[in-house]
């Protein structure tokens, strides 16, 4: 019986390590993008593009977004901007109408009288108008607050020269003028999850998600996926991405098309935004349940590589929980395997962390310079100490206390060991605590300190875990807009 339990615990720890290995695997694919990319099939191509800008109370940002859109390096007669005003109650209509008058024939105001149903409904209102006319050859779906670099659109359209490509996405880069600690974390995360991870997905020939603020569809592709955006989930961008690929068209990530976005500055705002994304991903996983790990049905989307990458993100909290259970189980079973397995798993985590961090800061040195502290503290200072412990246990448990003339008792050593094993799970409630603390009197100091200690990665895991709970309970799907101040770098 003990033998079975021991191997069960070992299996738990190994399952828990899969997301770490998957992260390393994904990053090992990144350099292959030097040769396995879509550029050989790209060509100068400037189709007639309709830009759809969903706007709900975006008066602070939408005017400048339009100003920048009309200045894109793109033939003016081939670019039209349609702002779909979702029954805004602020000055959005006035701002858009003023721009429509300033740029006649290029900016259009489409008004929904019933609003608040979410971005997908707003987009569909615009798409129904656009696709009714023959003029449109491609549609760019964006957010009202993002800023496109002048060359970004034509760098996206060049991939549509290949008729096999149905949609193209850009690199959404955090672009706050005065980045707070949270936006610096997000800035680094975006380089890792987009500029790096989406290059890896280009290599695999399958993309997980078109960025909501920068998705360019060919007209043929939009019509093939039904001419509308999915309204049944909170992850309409991901649904469009998967449907495009299920219809046999490719989705390409263009890293040199850069779009700047303003991101949440607080844990609370991030939690709200990511909870929506997390719940959306749970819904998408269920909706396409017959897709995953079936390469014989869908060669790329159903491939094992893509499936492991997808579920490593979605099920990361469960993997962390299993890993803790496995290690603690081995400890109480008195197995010598506990220490050995712990060391190997955390050493793998250390190697992965180093490889990912060093690669990521080189992919976007500007963000690397701005967010180097957040890059180091991404898994949390406590987790870094745990990695150090796995790397040099003797140093932490014996030599360091010996410097102060201390010697750990067996009870002390066991307590530390158990705490380390449990940390993979405990870091999630600790991150939740940081969110709770944020709204207190000491929140401005305590919350950031806690996030650096606990880690931004565990914070995202805690939010993912919350998304399971909300989905399990069937909580109401609310489209909570992330508040924007209109401060993005030019």
């Amino acid at each position: 019986m003990t033998g079975i339990l021991t191997w069960l615990c070992v299996a738990f720890v190994i399952i828990g390590a899969i997301p770490v290995a998957a992260g390393l695997y994904q990053y090992l694919l990144v350099p292959l993008h030097a040769t396995r990319n879509h550029y050989p099939k790209a060509a100068p191509y400037l189709p007639r593009v309709a830009v759809v800008v969903p706007a709900w109370n975006e008066g602070a940002v939408v005017g400048a977004s339009i100003d920048r859109l009309v200045r894109l390096e793109y033939p003016p007669d081939r670019l039209r901007i349609y702002v779909v005003d979702d029954a805004s109650t602020d000055d959005t209509p006035d701002v858009v109408l003023e721009r429509a008058a300033r740029y006649p024939g290029r900016v259009f105001h489409l008004r929904r009288e019933k609003g608040g149903e979410g971005k997908a409904h707003t987009l569909n209102h615009g798409l129904s108008v656009l696709l009714a006319a023959d003029w449109v050859q491609a549609v760019l779906i964006m957010d009202a607050d993002v800023i496109y670099r002048p060359d970004s659109l034509r760098k996206m359209t060049r991939h549509l020269a290949d008729p096999e490509v149905g949609a193209v996405t850009a690199f959404i880069r955090e672009g706050g003028v005065d980045p707070k600690y949270m936006t610096r974390f997000i800035g680094y995360e975006y380089v890792a999850s987009q500029a790096a991870a989406r290059r890896a997905q280009n290599v695999l020939g399958v993309l997980a998600c078109l960025a909501g603020g920068a998705q360019l569809h060919s007209r043929e592709n939009l019509e093939a996926i039904g001419g509308r955006i999915d309204t049944t989930t909170l992850a309409e961008d991901t649904v469009s991405t998967i449907l495009t690929q299920l219809n046999g068209r490719r989705v390409v990530f263009e890293p040199y098309a850069v779009v700047l976005a303003e991101e949440p500055e607080s844990i609370g705002a991030l939690w709200k935004q990511r909870l929506r994304w997390g719940r959306g991903n749970v819904q998408v996983s269920r909706r396409f349940a017959t897709l995953w790990f079936r390469p014989w049905k869908h060669r790329r989307l159903g491939g094992f590589s893509f499936g492991i990458i997808w579920f490593s993100v979605l099920l990361l909290p469960i993997a962390m929980l299993l890993s803790s259970i496995g290690l603690i189980g081995l400890f109480f079973l008195g197995s010598d395997l506990a220490a050995a397995v712990f060391r190997e798993v955390w050493f793998l985590a250390l190697c992965t962390y180093l490889f990912i961090t060093i690669t990521t800061v080189q992919i976007d040195p500007e963000t690397g310079r701005r967010s180097w502290r957040e890059a180091i503290a991404f898994p949390g200072i406590i987790s870094l100490l745990v990695m150090l412990m796995a790397f040099a246990p003797d140093l932490i448990l014996r030599k360091l206390p010996a410097l102060f003339g201390l010697e750990l008792t067996t009870f002390g050593a066991d307590s530390i060991t158990l705490a380390l094993y449990a940390w993979l799970t405990l870091c999630m409630p600790a991150a939740w605590l940081a969110k709770r603390v944020e709204s207190t009197a000491f929140g401005k100091v305590l919350a950031p300190a806690l996030i650096y200690l606990v880690g931004y990665g565990p914070l995202l895991c805690a939010i993912t875990f919350d998304s399971y709970i909300k989905e399990f309970r069937g909580a109401a799907q609310v489209w909570d807009k992330t508040e924007k101040l209109g401060k993005v770098m030019a």
């Binding site: 990053y27 090992l28 990144v30 350099p31 993008h33 030097a34 550029y39 050989p40 790209a42 060509a43 100068p44 602070a60 940002v61 005017g63 400048a64 100003d67 009309v70 200045r71 894109l72 390096e73 793109y74 003016p76 300033r102 740029y103 607050d145 800023i147 670099r149 002048p150 034509r154 760098k155 060049r158 690199f171 880069r173 672009g175 003028v177 500029a195 290059r199 890293p255 040199y256 850069v258 700047l260 250390l350 190697c351 180093l354 490889f355 990912i356 060093i358 690669t359 080189q362 992919i363 976007d364 040195p365 500007e366 790397f391 040099a392 209109g486 401060k487 993005v488 770098m489 030019a490």
Partner: protein, 66 residues
């Protein structure tokens, strides 16, 4: 790799308005060259991964040695 985006003089979006200036469009030849340049530029990823691999290799060596 992305280049710095006018980081020296960030402009709040609210203030970023002004008279319309027609965009300066590159010609087809320049756009073709740009695609080739971006394609070549992707080689930096190999260098980045090699540097990261050296970092990891050093840690592994220290562990094996120590």
């Amino acid at each position: 790799m992305t280049e710095p985006i006018d980081a020296a003089e960030p402009i709040p979006v609210k203030e970023a308005v002004g008279a319309f200036v027609p965009p300066d469009m590159p010609d087809e030849e320049k756009m073709t060259t740009e695609i080739q340049d971006d394609r070549k530029h992707e080689r930096f990823l190999v260098r980045a991964a090699l540097i990261a691999a050296v970092g990891v290799a050093m840690v592994i060596l220290v562990r094996l040695w120590g």
